[in-house]
């Protein structure tokens, strides 16, 4: 993943301000940042949901504007929004997305994923009857249907109960196999630091801190974070 001088404007407001970022294949990067730092905007640009205003963005070796469909076929997105149709059953949701991604042996793949996220036996229930945690677990299955090489996680723990959070951590642990690239944005320090290889802090549309996890003092990371966030104005110039 390669980002050079990325700018994204909403009207005249720059949500991303010349952001640079690089992430090697198989690495797990967690980006922390306060509300309004541009974390979600960054993930939306990387996952082709919105186009950058300026700069170069390559994901999986493909340009997010010129080869958006190639990028989309390589990525999976888990967000606090589940992207699930409430009036369809879990199985119908997976079948729908599976067909859109051209997944082969869809029935088998769907059942395998439902088993993995602990929803086997509830696959014929409508999503509207699911709890928030169950919907998020199904959303994980949806994102993994086409076996993406790159995962984007946007505040995935939001609104999850203990059980669902544990399930998500378990799934993330299996996904983090050294072959799959994972990019997570969160403002939850504890959960964000748990499995990642690298840590970054984004403030005011820029990355102002980045370190490998083995060089991060976990106990005092909170202080580093608040130092960056509090001094956000330093990075605005």
């Amino acid at each position: 993943m390669r980002v050079r001088r990325l700018w994204k404007y909403y009207g005249h407001f720059p949500a991303l301000r010349g952001l640079d970022l690089e992430l090697e294949r198989g690495r797990f990067l967690t980006v922390f940042g306060p509300n309004g730092a541009g974390k979600t905007t960054l993930i939306k640009v990387l996952s082709t949901q919105i186009k950058p205003s300026e700069g170069l963005v390559e994901v999986g070796g493909h340009d997010v504007i010129g080869a958006a469909d190639r990028v989309r076929s390589q990525i999976g997105v888990i967000s606090h929004n589940t992207y699930l149709y409430p009036s369809l059953t879990a199985f119908e949701n997976l079948k729908f997305y599976g067909r859109m991604y051209g997944v082969g042996d869809l029935e088998e793949r769907s059942r395998e994923l439902l088993e993995r996220v602990g929803l086997r036996g509830r696959e014929d229930d409508r999503v509207s009857e699911y709890s928030r945690g169950m919907q998020q677990r199904l959303s994980i299955a949806r994102a993994l249907l086409h076996e993406p090489e790159i995962m984007f996680l946007d505040e995935p723990y939001t609104g999850l109960d203990q059980h669902a959070s544990r399930m998500l951590r378990g799934v993330l642990a299996t996904l983090h196999d050294g072959r799959r690239t994972i990019f997570m944005v969160t403002h939850n320090l504890e959960e964000g630091l748990e499995m990642c290889d690298e840590v970054a802090i984004q403030v005011a549309g820029r990355i102002c801190y980045r370190e490998p996890i083995d060089r991060v003092d976990r106990e005092h990371f909170g202080d580093t974070y608040f130092e960056c966030v509090g001094g956000g104005h330093k990075w605005d110039s």
Partner: protein
């Protein structure tokens, strides 16, 4: 799965969802029936220009009820941010447009047929005798209506006042369809045959081709904005 297969998958997802909730079809039907009923109170039996008024009543009901349905077309994708999920799929934007168009076409056509039946009973029109001609007009007009309606529904989806905005945007663009459909229906319902209003029919065909093509081309820009 090819282009059309994926488009049909999107349409089928919409149809299946609607069969479960019945939110859109019920409100469309109720509104269509109400329009037919209220006009019936206003038009006295034996009115001299009754034959000219009836097609207008019918198309007013179709259009008003149809717009109600179009409002739901993309707003149903807003729940759980499903539209983003759809946009993340590695498919051409034209597939998404075509899928939503097909779904809208099915809903509007189903509503129109039910309203037509209600209309025939209330206005004492023998629709069976003129059904083939009416079906052709209905089909062509529904294609044009759904083509433009799907596009404008996507335009207005992120706006709070989308219900009002959709109607404001849609009506001026739909004038040729409403005009051509009402005029051709008048010829058919008066027993003059489908091709008596040949130029109106041709207008419907040209409108369908032009607006389907334009909508497919600009849909990507609409979604991006």
């Amino acid at each position: 799965m090819g282009f059309l297969g994926q488009a049909w998958t999107i349409a089928w997802k919409d149809i299946l969802g609607e069969l479960r909730t019945r939110e859109m079809v019920f409100s469309m039907l109720l509104f269509g029936f109400l329009v037919i009923l209220i006009f019936n109170f206003g038009i006295e039996p034996g009115l001299r220009d009754e034959a000219l008024v009836k097609p207008g009543v019918l198309w007013a009901a179709f259009v008003f009820a149809g717009i109600l349905g179009l409002n739901r077309s993309f707003s149903s994708e807003k729940e759980n941010d499903c539209l983003q999920g759809l946009l993340l799929c590695p498919v051409d934007r034209a597939v998404i447009y075509l899928g939503k168009f097909l779904g809208n076409f099915v809903f509007v056509l189903a509503m129109s047929l039910a309203v037509l039946l209600f209309f025939s009973v209330l206005y004492n029109v023998d629709v069976i005798a003129v059904l083939p001609g009416l079906l052709v007009i209905l089909g062509l007009a529904t294609v044009g209506f759904s083509a433009v309606g799907t596009l404008f529904s996507a335009v207005s989806v992120g706006i709070k006042t989308r219900d009002v905005l959709l109607a404001i945007l849609l009506f001026p663009v739909l004038v040729p369809v409403i005009l051509a459909a009402a005029k051709s229906s008048a010829f058919v319902m008066n027993g003059e045959g489908l091709f008596a209003g040949g130029s109106w029919l041709a207008m419907l065909v040209v409108y369908d081709v032009v607006f389907l093509a334009v909508s497919v081309m600009v849909f990507d820009y609409v979604l991006e904005e």
